[in-house]
């Protein structure tokens, strides 16, 4: 019947999290990686509390954007490949290795997949690192933003980022950036998840909607 057809169409039009905001920033001893929590299909929010930060290894996380299915599958595959790799080398994998594995998949299946993962983590050799893997390129950056909500915060992150920020500065930076993007992007919203990774471990935090920073017009 007509009703069933409409529902089916709404669901199959990719539960896309390209409609999202993701961000990662490196500091002296680690990284902070964050995301919003909205998954929308057209005008409907199908999940308002989705955690888009996926662990690839103990101290390496990735942030998912683009088609949710593609992104999740890529993260799972790389998770498996990293486990194998770390057994082979006998120690924790490098963040660059994780990013390279993601890049290999992105590049090889460029035409079929539409997902962008930002990879961030800490390793003994190079400390905190952030890598972008958009369209199959691999580049290390001091910080990275992605998803539809990121357009609105380019000016903010360009202005606010400075070298030598502390862990606390970075956490504030991530939460402020997410809050600003969620206020302006219809496809980003819900709660702000962020993970802080350093040599001592990973710390996952969630900031509820009403506890996010507010700005002049709120």
């Amino acid at each position: 019947s007509e009703e069933e057809e409409c529902e089916h169409q709404a669901e199959s039009s990719s539960h896309s999290s390209d409609r999202t905001t993701i961000i990662a920033i490196a500091f002296e001893g680690g990284v902070v990686i964050g995301s919003d929590s909205r998954v929308s299909a057209g005008a409907s929010v199908v999940n308002r509390v989705m955690n888009k930060l996926s662990p690839l290894h103990d101290k390496i996380y990735c942030a998912l954007s683009g088609s949710a299915a593609d992104a999740q599958t890529m993260a799972e595959i790389v998770n498996y490949q990293l486990d194998v790799h770390s057994i082979e080398v006998g120690e924790d994998p490098l963040v660059r290795s994780a990013a390279t594995l993601v890049k290999n998949i992105s590049y090889k299946y460029k035409e079929e997949l539409s997902a962008h993962l930002i990879v961030a983590g800490w390793d003994r050799r190079a400390g905190g690192q952030v890598y972008v893997t958009l369209d199959g390129l691999l580049a290390r950056q001091p910080f990275a933003i992605g998803g539809s909500g990121s357009s609105y915060i380019y000016g903010f992150v360009d202005a606010e980022y400075r070298q030598g920020m502390t862990k606390k500065d970075c956490q504030e930076f991530v939460v402020n950036a997410l809050a600003l993007a969620m206020n302006r992007d219809g496809s980003s919203g819900g709660v702000a998840y962020f993970v802080t990774i350093d040599k001592d471990g990973t710390d996952e935090k969630c900031i509820l909607g009403n506890k996010l920073p507010t700005f002049f017009d709120e």
Binding site: Y154, G155, F156, V157, D158, Y161, R184, F216, D217
Partner: protein, 216 residues
């Protein structure tokens, strides 16, 4: 000189960044200075997008340059006639209204949006936005044009009501610089006009004097 290919047939458009901000005692209206064809050829590096429609009322244009020029020309005429009839300078809201009527009544054909800012004796400094379809609203500050998407976050975070003139100049220059840095159809110099009860001052910041951010 041959024109470069323009597959979308868009004509000269002001892919642009424009904004207007109210501060304590006045308004600042600002823009970049680039006009482009098809998004890949810069047809004018130093175009002035800040149009004076009356002594203390300016507007800036986004969208099709031709449409914007035609509309502002009409608005200028209507406003000067109106001010003769009223025997007083027009209100900023009147100027914005005139633009709004033109945009709304011709919304099918036109492709231009406006920001109007100025000072009048009745309400002091004001900023109005007339969107492309002809909606008119008053705001403490407003941004527009293609480059504006990149600075929503910055503007939301950094704007404070009742700033001083210097703070406001800094805010405007920073915002335009950040937008120019990320939007390839915005560029050139930063034009700003400061409008207060005492008069109108035009400030131009050339490209090499713009603030530099972390990656430059």
């Amino acid at each position: 000189m041959d024109r470069p290919p323009n597959p979308q047939n868009t004509g000269v458009s002001t892919g642009t960044t424009i904004l207007a901000v109210k501060f304590n005692g006045g308004v600042i209206i600002g823009s970049d200075s680039r006009a482009s064809i098809g998004g890949s050829y810069v047809s004018n590096k130093m175009i002035n997008k800040l149009i004076q429609v009356h002594d203390k009322i300016f507007c800036c244009i986004a969208g099709s340059l031709a449409d914007a020029q035609a509309v502002t020309k009409m608005a200028k005429f209507q406003l000067s006639f109106h001010s003769i009839q009223m025997e007083a300078p027009p209100l900023v809201k009147a100027a914005a209204s005139v633009l709004k009527e033109l945009c709304y009544n011709n919304r099918e054909e036109l492709q231009a949006g406006f920001i109007t800012a100025g000072w009048d004796r009745k309400r002091g400094p004001q900023v109005y936005t007339v969107s492309m379809g002809g909606m008119l609203i008053s705001q403490p500050f407003t941004i527009g044009g293609s480059g504006s998407t990149f600075i929503y976050g910055y503007a939301d975070a950094k704007f404070k009501p009742d700033m001083s003139r210097e703070e406001c100049l800094q805010f405007t220059t920073n915002a335009l610089t950040l937008a120019i840095g990320r939007d390839n159809v915005s560029g050139g110099v930063v034009h700003m006009v400061v409008i207060t009860e005492d008069g109108v001052e035009h400030v131009v910041v050339p490209g090499d004097k713009l603030p530099k951010f972390h990656d430059e």
